[in-house]
Symmetry: C2
C-alpha cells in the first residue's frame, strides 16, 4: 500500500513538473495527422503570413502552396506508399520545420521534418521503424588513425546476440559528401534495417561499421574539433582529399582488434553512397582480395576529374589503377554490385563504369531504380545489398 | 604520381558532387558570427517579415526584438561568459531555428539552435566541447527488463582505456520528465564532460549509464515502439508511473553482466535531474547500501503529491519510506548531494528535504546556484558531482 502510494506520487509529481517547465510547450496544431484513408495532413499556425509553401518528397511534384483557415495553413498529401518522408515549410519565404513533429533529420545543413508510413510487415517503411524484435547495439567509438594523425570517431552496429561470444562478418558502410559517421544511422536507418532484416531471416547477422569519410575531421561537424562557426557554406573535406582511402587500414585494424569478427573476403564487405561509393570503388581496388562483396550506390566513379576522357580511357592512361582493378576481379569476389537511379546526376559515370567492366569481362550486377541522388534510394539499396551478403 | 592523381581526382570530384546535390544548400546570412569582442551576432533573412523576435539564454532578459536592414534581421549579444547557449527566432510569431547553424538541440519538443562559448581550458564551455584528449566510447544498448516486460534502450559511456581490460566504477545518470536515454548525452554533454574532466585529472575514469526513465517507452520517442503521431501535447509517462524505480535492478543486472565494473557502494553512484532526481531519491531509498554516492539535481522530492503536508509529515505518515531512508544513511554513504537553483520551482521541495535530513541528522551536502530548472545548471551540477566520485 505504501509502495502504491509512492508509485502514485511519482506519477502525479510528473504532471506538476510538466505543467511548470517551460520546455513542456503545447502546440495549437496537430501535425502530422495520419488520416484513416492513407493520406497525411500537415499543418502550421501562421496567422500573419501572406503565403506558406511546403516542400518535400511527400508533396506532389515536390512543392505546393498551403491553404489557410483561421490562421492555420494546411496541406493534405495523396495516399502515400510505405516510405520515410521528409518535408519543410516556407512561411513568407522563411524556412521552418513542423513544430508539432519531434522527428527531424539533418542532411548536411538541411533540416527536414520526417515521418514514416508502413502498410505491412516487411515493406520499406516497416524496415525503417523500431519493432519489438531482437535489437543490435550501436556504439560510437574513437579509433587511432596514424595515417591521418588523429583519433577519429566511427559508429559500429553489432547484431543481436553479439554479446554471446560468436564471431560475425563485417560490412563497412560509407556515407556521402557532407555526411558523417552518424548519417547512415539517422537518415540511413541502418540499425533498424539490420535489426528487421535479421529478424525476418532475410539478412545474416553482421557487424556494420560506419566511419567518417571526411579525412580532415575527427568527428561529425556537430561535435568536431573544427566546429562550424556560422559559415555561409559548409567547408567540405577541406584538404587531404583521398586520404580517407589511404587511412582505411587503420579502421580495419581497430575493428579486428576490438571486435569478434570472421576474417577473409567471404566475411568482409564494403559499400557506400555517392562519395562513399567512390571510396568503395577505390578502397576495393587498393585492397584487392580483401572484400568479397562490394556495393556502389549512386557512386562517384572517376579516376581523374578534370577531363572529358571516358572512364575506360582513364583506366588506359592509368595502368596502376587498371592493374588494381584486374587484381580485384582476379580474387573472384562474390559480388560487385552497382545501383543507381535513372535521374541521378552521376548516372553517366556509372554507365561508363559498366562499359569498362563489360569490356574487361569483369563480372558485376546492376540495379537501376527510379529517382535520383536521394536517401530514399540509398536506404533501399542498403536493404537489398545486405540481403546478398555472407 | 598515379596515386596523387587519384587523390586529386577524389578531391575535385567531391566539389562537383557538392555543386549538384540539392542538399548542399547555401545561405545568404552568416549566423552565428563570433565577433572579436566576445559578443555573438545572430541573423535571419526574412525580407517580408513585419517583426522578428529572438528568445534564448544568450539574449538579455531572455527575449528581444531584432532589427532589420536589407531584409536581414540581426541581434548582437552582450559579451558572453563561457557556456552552451541556445536561441530561437520568431518570424511574425512563427518559430524557427537558425538556418545558418547546424547545431540544434531538442528538449522534449522544443528545438533550439545552440553554440558554445569557451574562454579558457577548464571553463564550463570548454568542458562541453570535443577536444584532442583521450575519448571514451558511447554505446546505445538494448537490455531486457522483465519488470517492465520489454527490451529497453539505454546509453553507456565507457572511459578512455576501458578496452584495456580494467574494471571501473559506475555512475547511473537519470534524465528528467520528457527526456530520454539521449538527453544527458546531447543537451547534457556527458561524454564531453567526462572525457575532459578525466583528461584534466579532475574526475576518475568511470562508466556512466544513462537509461530511459519513461517506464512505458522502450526507447526515445523519436525511435520508440509508440512513436508520436502528431499529438498536440506529448504523452509523458502514460501509465506505469513509478515502475522505472522498480525496474532499476534490471538495469544494474545488465551492466554487471556486460561490463567490467568495480562493485559495492564505494564504486556505485546514482544521480539525476528533476524527475530523475526523484528517481534517485526513491531508488537510493529502495536500495539502501547499494550507492555510496547520490546526487539530486533540481529534484522532485515528495512521497505523496496531492497533499499540503510537509515532506517531514509525509515521512511520518509513511513508516516504510522512513525506514528505507534510515537504512540508506545507516549504510554510511560517502555523499548525499543536493543541488538546486534559487529560482527553481522545485526549490521549496528541496528546502523540506533538507529540513527532514537535518531533523534526522542524516548527513548531506548542499549546493545552491543561481537560476532555475535549466540544463545549464544540470551540466554544471554533473561536472561538480563527477569530481566528488570514487
Amino acid at each position: 500500500m505504501k509502495k502504491l502510494q509512492l508509485l502514485a506520487a511519482t506519477l502525479l509529481m510528473a504532471s506538476a513538473v510538466e505543467a511548470q517547465q517551460a520546455i513542456f510547450e503545447r502546440h495549437d496544431t496537430r501535425s502530422p495527422e495520419f488520416n484513416g484513408d492513407g493520406t497525411v495532413t500537415l499543418r502550421i499556425k501562421a496567422p500573419e503570413a501572406k503565403k506558406v509553401g511546403i516542400i518535400g518528397d511527400c508533396i506532389e511534384n515536390g512543392r505546393a502552396e498551403m491553404t489557410q483557415q483561421d490562421g492555420i495553413w494546411t496541406y493534405t498529401t495523396k495516399v502515400l506508399p510505405a516510405e520515410l518522408y521528409s518535408y519543410r515549410f516556407y512561411v513568407d519565404g522563411v524556412e521552418t520545420q513542423d513544430a508539432g513533429n519531434i522527428e527531424r533529420s539533418r542532411d548536411v545543413r538541411s533540416f527536414m521534418s520526417t515521418f514514416i508510413i508502413s502498410k505491412e510487415e516487411g515493406d520499406c517503411g516497416w524496415l525503417y521503424q523500431n519493432h519489438n524484435v531482437e535489437h543490435g547495439d550501436v556504439s560510437h567509438v574513437w579509433y587511432d588513425s596514424p595515417t591521418l594523425g588523429m583519433k577519429r570517431r566511427m559508429s559500429i552496429y553489432t547484431p543481436p546476440g553479439y554479446d554471446k561470444g560468436k564471431a560475425y562478418p563485417v560490412l563497412y558502410l560509407l556515407h556521402g559528401a557532407g555526411g558523417d559517421e552518424e548519417a547512415w544511422l539517422t537518415l540511413g536507418r541502418t540499425a533498424q534495417i539490420m535489426d528487421n532484416l535479421i529478424a525476418l531471416g532475410k539478412a545474416k547477422p553482421m557487424i556494420v561499421v560506419t566511419p567518417n569519410g571526411n579525412a580532415s575531421d575527427d568527428a561529425a561537424k556537430t561535435l568536431s574539433n573544427s566546429p562550424l562557426k556560422g559559415e555561409k557554406t559548409l567547408p567540405l573535406r577541406e584538404g587531404r582529399g583521398g586520404s580517407f582511402e589511404e587511412s582505411f587500414p587503420d579502421i580495419m585494424k581497430y575493428v579486428k582488434e576490438h571486435y569478434k569478427i570472421k576474417k577473409g573476403p567471404d566475411n568482409t564487405a564494403v559499400c557506400g553512397l555517392s562519395m562513399g561509393g567512390g571510396h568503395t570503388f577505390r578502397i576495393s581496388m587498393q585492397n584487392a582480395g580483401t572484400f568479397g562483396y562490394m556495393g556502389l550506390f549512386s557512386a562517384a566513379v572517376r579516376l581523374e576529374w578534370n577531363t572529358k576522357k571516358s572512364l575506360e580511357q582513364q583506366f588506359n592512361d592509368n595502368q596502376e589503377a587498371a592493374a588494381q582493378m584486374k587484381a580485384l576481379f582476379a580474387a573472384k569476389p562474390h559480388l560487385y554490385w552497382i545501383a543507381i537511379g535513372k535521374d541521378d546526376f552521376l548516372f553517366q559515370q556509372n554507365v561508363e563504369l559498366r562499359q569498362y567492366l563489360d569490356k574487361m569481362q569483369y563480372p558485376y550486377e546492376y540495379h537501376e531504380s527510379e529517382g535520383g541522388h536521394i536517401w530514399r534510394n540509398w536506404r533501399i539499396y542498403l536493404s537489398m545489398f545486405a540481403q546478398r551478403l555472407f
